[in-house]
Amino acid sequence: MNAIYGLYPDPGSAQRAFNVLERAESELGFSGKDIAVLSGEPYEGYGFGQRDNVTRMPWIAALGALAGGLSGWVFVAFTQKTYPMVSGGMQLVTKWPNGIITYELTMLGAILTTLFVLLITARIPDWRGRKLYDPAISNGKILIGVVNPPETARAELGTMLRDAGAEAVKEFTN
């Protein structure tokens, strides 16, 4: 995997570079998903920061909550019925105390589901191999570049990135 990218000091120039790359993609022979964007903070207000922002996470979390709650209720009611011991003159399967346990397990289901969906969809942990990265990102620079560009287009891409306002244009190979 190799890449060519530029580091931009502010989101304005990063957006410029992104636009330029998008316009040039069919010309130079790479596709939209080869454009790489990395940043040290989220940039919701800019086009380049809005890729891949469709997610079903809240729905899945709600499903997880439902699963947690159902399994909680079934579990508690089942154990109370099959190991019947009367206490305090209450019924065997008590609605309100069981409801509390069900509620806690509902919330736990939502929390754990959110965590797992995050880990899976953000593809972390991801320790395999070296992926495109530049430590300058943590100093506030924004990385815009192309992954696996065709050889012929490399020089032109470099010029485009530099013209859009990059502080540095670098290449990355792993």
Partner: protein
């Protein structure tokens, strides 16, 4: 604040790389106190609860006081982080991580106390629902089981809430570190890179977590209060316990947060990040909670006195003019008479020293409140023939001091592993300089040119 990202990185990562001799000395003292507490606990496990001050009728005292107190303190992080996130309050940014840390550590400490106060603590795992060889499951009708589920859910939720926004900061440290630090932070940052997809997922997860953790926090302290309210003990069996405890928890939590923030500010030289405005805002919240606390206590006392139930009146008078009255009036002084006037005066609230002066008595007062809920009611329970007294023994005092030391120690270690202020969120909240207005991606694709 006009700081470049590099400057912010340097300031906030400094505690992770450098530690003065003061850090090591403090850590050593705290560790010694924690060791003393662990020794006392071991002694108690060996000889039995007889060496504590517990007796019949006061079967619960210091340990349960501490338990409820620390659960109360744990509400700091949730309120600040979650509610302020949901409300999009921008002043929360430097405060969220130190608040979330308080929650995680105080919850862990609180979770120790049910073990410490058990008669046979080595069998604590019988509260865990698993198919046991004894052929029974735990009794889910018991409030102690509700405690088990609630506290564990809250602990898992709080740890998640703390860790999720930490990944980008770990990646930051990984980028700037070398040697063993690079390796370790490389692993715990889970390979975070910062693609828009990752940011989106992270922010969505934080949004869901913020909304989910608030009802959990409310339920946790309500359920802890129901340890008392479900028993027909005079002074305990009151419907107001749920809301009263939650309000008291948020109250003590904010006070603890203010003290923690003031200490961090001083010791880690974060004067430019934790500014008087943060203490001012937290002070306003604290004032509201102080008034709310007073309201709850007044309402409860008034209804008890007016109702004149014989069983409850023994408890009532013991706290108002009897044996426990010095503690009760100290508590009112600490929770309301000192803090409310201080926090109501804007000039004082804007000075960090004064908000700390208002907060420290609150922490003491809230501890006293937990004590005064438990011990007077048990000392004066229905039958005068069985009234009793309570005096703490050395074991209970040392363990109490030890848990405060444990909190300090954990927090100290935390400040050296995590950046105490969430760096990426802080940067996010700072105004950005714009070179020139830019076309959005759609506008560029539509072929529009930039207006001159």
């Amino acid at each position: 604040m006009n700081k470049t990202p590099e400057q912010i990185n340097k300031d906030l990562l400094r505690p992770i790389y450098h530690a003065t001799w003061r850090f090591y000395v403090t850590a050593a003292i705290l560790a010694a106190l924690v060791a003393a507490a662990l020794f006392a606990w071991g002694y108690q496990m060996y000889y039995g609860l007889g060496i504590s001050g517990l007796n019949r009728p006061v079967f619960w005292a210091f340990y349960i006081t501490n338990f409820v107190f620390w659960i109360g303190i744990s509400h700091a992080g949730t309120l600040i982080s979650a509610i302020l996130r949901v409300c999009n309050a921008s002043w929360r940014r430097p405060v969220t991580r130190c608040a979330e840390a308080i929650t995680v550590f105080s919850l862990s400490i609180a979770g120790l106390f049910p073990l410490i106060h058990l008669g046979r603590p080595w069998l604590f795992f019988w509260l865990i629902p698993y198919p046991s060889e004894r052929g029974i499951w735990p009794q889910f009708r018991s409030p102690l089981l509700w405690d088990f589920f609630a506290i564990n859910t809250y602990l898992i939720g709080s740890v998640t809430f703390l860790l999720l926004p930490s990944f980008p900061d770990f990646a930051l440290i990984r980028d700037r570190a070398s040697g063993w630090r690079r390796k370790v932070y490389g692993i715990i940052s889970l390979g975070w890179r910062g693609t828009p997809k990752q940011w989106h997922r992270l922010e969505m997860a934080m949004r869901i977590m913020a909304v989910a953790i608030i009802p959990v926090a409310v339920s946790v302290h309500t359920i802890v209060s129901w340890d008392f309210a479900m028993a027909p003990v005079p002074g305990w069996h009151s419907t107001v316990f749920g809301p009263c405890f939650v309000a008291g928890a948020i109250f003590s939590g904010i006070a603890a947060l203010i003290v923690a923030m003031a200490l961090l500010r001083k010791l880690l030289h974060l004067e430019e990040y934790l500014r008087p405005i943060h203490f001012d805002n937290l002070g306003k919240l604290l004032l509201v909670m102080s008034l709310l606390w007073f309201y709850f206590v007044f309402a409860e006392r008034l209804t008890t006195w007016y109702g004149n139930f014989p069983g409850e009146m023994s408890v009532f008078w013991s706290t108002q003019i009897g044996r426990f009255s010095p503690l009760f009036w100290t508590m009112v002084f600490c929770n309301f008479l000192i803090p409310a006037p201080i926090l109501a005066i804007k000039k004082l609230r804007n000075k960090i020293g004064w908000t700390v002066v208002a907060s420290v008595p609150i922490i003491i007062g809230m501890w006293l409140e937990r004590f005064l809920i438990i011990v007077p009611s048990l000392s004066y329970k229905y039958l005068p023939y069985n009234f009793g007294t309570y005096r703490p023994s050395w074991v209970e005092i040392i363990i109490t001091i030890g848990t405060f030391a444990a909190m300090g120690l954990l927090y100290l270690i935390f400040s050296r592993v995590f950046p105490i202020i969430s760096i990426w969120e802080l940067k996010l909240g700072m105004p950005k300089k714009e070179a020139a207005p830019e076309l959005t991606t759609q506008e560029a694709a539509a072929g529009q040119t930039q207006a001159g």
